[in-house]
Symmetry: C2
Subunit: 138 residues, 2 copies
DNA sequence: GTATGGTCTCCACAGGGGTGGAGAGTCACT
DNA sequence: AGTGACTCTCCACCCCTGTGGAGACCATAC
């Protein structure tokens, strides 16, 4: 009969201090559904479980790996359903490698083009009619 | 004595058709000062010179090379002052190569990290206490 | 009782390059 | 005179991940 319905938990400032994230960011994450609070205090303050710290670590890690909050939320949803999110995370990370490869490819081509242009660059060309930059011929 | 003060020019729709850019974009460029109109018609319509087409080509080219509109505007300001913008463009393009190199470097490191994680990925690991994804150990 | 600090909600802004729509005015053709 | 196409201005919204502030409430210490 004791302690029934009693919600204990950190207030947002404590979680901010322990996680190193700004209070604003935690509210933002909560709004997005990334970081559910276990409830509210009588005064209306958000209360977070200890587990939130783990969750924030997870979020931070996946963020540094370049996943969007939406993608991270997808993984967390799997976790919250009681399943291991490993497979989903693997898929996301593979997708992320794909995006990175595409970006690197694109950047490499652009770099090539820029290098080519600068290789033949004339620092003081004659002015040309109908062209703003004779080097670019445009 | 003939044709004094008469402003001739394309209306924005014509320029849009000939340049291939949407009317909205041309207005946006004009607002930014990238694409000055030679004036307004009696009815208040923007009028553009033939030269605007060249200017838009120039803008488009530098955009494909990855310069921001602000950087492009810097080059155009030099041009409008009557100077050749080649040197400024060269500087911008070199800076752009620098940015690209930094990005590629960063992406490469991230890719490395992702590859490393996925290399040892276990598709069906045992659940671990205090960890959302055992593979990431977070 | 009151000062201080934590927290609440709601709204706005940042960056960069536009895009969409409303409502009104203009132009050309019939 | 009317119709339709074109243009004007002004405001809002898109992407994404937050951040800043105003005004009000809550909690704790003195």
């Amino acid at each position: 009969m004791a302690a029934v319905g009693i919600k204990t938990g950190m207030k947002i400032g404590v979680l901010a201090g322990r996680s190193g994230l700004p209070v604003k960011t935690l509210r933002y994450y909560e709004d997005l559904g990334l970081l559910p609070a276990i409830g509210r205090s009588e005064g209306g303050y958000r209360l977070f479980a200890e587990e939130s710290l783990r969750r924030l670590e997870f979020i931070r890690r996946l963020k540094t790996l370049g996943l969007s909050l939406e993608e991270i939320q997808g993984c967390l949803t799997v976790h919250d359903a009681g399943d291991l999110p490993c497979t989903d995370i693997q898929i996301q990370l593979e997708r992320q490698i794909g995006r990175i490869d595409a970006q690197i490819e694109e950047l490499g081509q652009l770099r090539q083009e820029l290098q080519g242009l600068l290789a033949g660059w004339q620092s003081d060309p004659a002015k040309e009619r109908d062209v703003i930059c004779p080097n670019l011929r445009v």
